[in-house]
Amino acid sequence: MLQKSEFFNPIDKSEQDSEFIAMEPRSFWHDVWDRFRSNRRALIGLIVLLFIVLLAVLGPLFSPYPYDGMGTEVNCGPGAAHWFGTDALGRDLFTRVLYGIRISLFVGFVSTLINCAIGVLYGGVAGYVGGRVDAVMMRFVDVLYAVPSLLYIILLMMMFGSNVGSIMVGMCISGWVGIARLMRTQVISLKGREYVLAAYTEGAGPARILFKHMFSNAMSPILVQATLAIPQAIFQEAFLSFIGMGISAPQASLGTLAQDARMYMAIYPHQMVCPIAMICIIIFALNFISEGLSEALDPTNSR
């Protein structure tokens, strides 16, 4: 007869928790980064964007030409001395594009950051407090949203001049509305989660519940929306500058550069191609990042 122990041996005490020994603790963001990294397009987008940011920040320091320094070589083509050529006033186009990237990225990132901050705060409070306060707060949002942001920007420009500040403030007057709505729905759906109730029974105050427990879990869709908002803001600024309502000379954004080159488009197409190509590259890179991020944040929701 077979002994029972020939088939069944009690396992070693040390083997019982073998599943824990091998792995390092893995946070959610750790996993997100791994998934993001394995997406080639997203990774290329990120590298390209980082390269452009580095170029825009450091490039002008090494450029021999100031962005508004006029020279005698007017309208020359791309070459060793002027990589992107010069414009009608003899200014080095490469240097001007670098400054243009600075302004475009600044407008895109800072306006989005401000919009996110306002939106998270506003939507969070509305969703958390709920009831009548929520209803009133959201009606106000509807009113803001009903007016196109272009109107705010034009108004501000008439009052405070055509500068980066006017554009940014104009973009932020109603730009946070989308994030606020998103945050509000997230907060409402998270309200009944047991870990939120647990925090509540531990005596956590509203700020802790809202900005620690709810925000940490509402962040994914907000992050995705924010990375989509950055290229939108960049595009909007470029568009405004292109139709002549943006940043005024001698400062120049990529849109202004394209606008300046419009007159010489037939003769010196490179003056227009360079800034526009740069806008395209930035927007593509940001869209790839956004797409990769949304897949990395929620692997079940691959577009």
Binding site: P25, R26, S27, F28, R193, Y195, S216, N217
Partner: protein, 328 residues
């Protein structure tokens, strides 16, 4: 009866507690309310476990959340060591928060997935400004050991644990502030059967070690009998029967309790074949349009005319309470 009748004061008293949720407003008739908890009263003594049973949707969780003041009672009172906490503001509840805690049903939803075990268990201490960072960490490690986990699990994230282990983390969190009363809202019903007994044993061990009182919620009467000193039976927001666990189980008075017990599985097949089963017919009425009389009257095999008129009052038979016209 030879039960120890210690004359002590209750840890928690529930007095005629009601919790109604607004279900709909109407122009020409009164608003609809979900009467999730309707006039429930009982006491929980020091070191005692009160088991609360009833079908899903009968208001157990709502009662639990009202007792621990996630919800504010619509009427009636909740007393903690004699102090009325029914309508205290959030800020004034804070001292009580450290003493009353809750273990939730779903171990996958009750731990914030973005934080480490150390942060989760340490948070109650952080909120209560207890000790420095190192001190808290030391205590978290001790708590992890007390619930059968390892101190070096402190830096791991919830998703790295199984359901049973997560529930242990949830238990450790409730113990962080050294409470004397813990509500367990179906703490094992989301777990694998093989794990359930471990968690029950852990809860009993902790009760002995820390001298805790439990309000233990379940929908399975057999399991509740095993760990409870007293049992309460809920139906449609009402408490129908309340008494010593063995007494309620062996000598159920209320027709609903009898039906529940007769429906419970028994281990002995011979007994299972021969015993008398009471079949319940019909559906549980909606808590919005509950019967005017006895809440159980639509399904009660022994319903009488007077049952339909007004809800029966709780009758007390030597500490065994029952709400039924048969015993008035």
């Amino acid at each position: 009866m030879e039960k120890k009748t210690k004359e002590t004061k209750p840890v928690v008293s529930i007095r005629h507690a009601k919790k109604y949720f607004l279900a709909g407003r109407h122009l020409f008739r009164p608003s609809d309310y979900v009467k999730a908890v309707d006039d429930v009263s009982f006491d929980i003594m020091p070191g005692e476990t009160v088991g609360l049973v009833g079908e899903s949707g009968c208001g157990k969780s709502t009662l639990a959340r009202t007792v621990i003041r996630i919800y504010e009672p619509s009427a009636g009172g909740i007393f903690y060591h004699g102090a009325d906490i029914s309508h205290l503001s959030n800020a004034r509840l804070r001292p009580f928060r450290t003493k009353m805690q809750m273990i939730f049903q779903d171990p996958y939803a009750s731990l914030n997935p973005r934080y480490t075990v150390g942060e989760i268990i340490g948070e109650p201490m952080q909120i209560a400004h207890m000790g420095g960072k190192d001190e808290r960490e030391g205590r978290v490690q001790k708590l992890l050991q007390q619930v059968g986990l390892k101190p070096d699990h402190i830096s791991r994230y919830p998703h790295e644990f199984s359901g049973g282990q997560r529930q242990r983390i949830g238990i450790a969190r409730t113990l962080a502030l050294d409470p004397d009363f813990i509500i367990c809202d179906e703490p094992i019903s989301a777990l694998d059967v093989s794990i359930q007994a471990q968690i029950i044993n852990l809860l009993e061990k902790i009760q002995d070690e820390n001298g805790l009182s439990y309000l233990f919620i379940a929908h399975d009467l057999t399991m509740v009998r095993h760990i409870s000193h007293k049992i309460g039976v809920m139906y449609l927001g009402h408490l129908l029967e309340f008494g010593d666990a063995d007494e309620v189980y062996e000598n159920p008075l209320h027709p609903y309790t009898r039906a529940l017990i007769s429906a419970a599985p028994v281990p002995d097949p011979e007994q299972a074949r021969t015993r008398h089963r009471i079949k319940l017919t019909g559906e549980v009425p909606s808590p919005i349009h509950a019967p005017a009389g006895c809440p159980f009257c639509t399904r009660c095999p022994e319903c009488r005319p007077e049952c339909l008129l007004a809800p029966p009052v709780m009758a007390n038979q030597n500490g065994h309470k029952v709400a039924c016209y048969k015993y008035v």
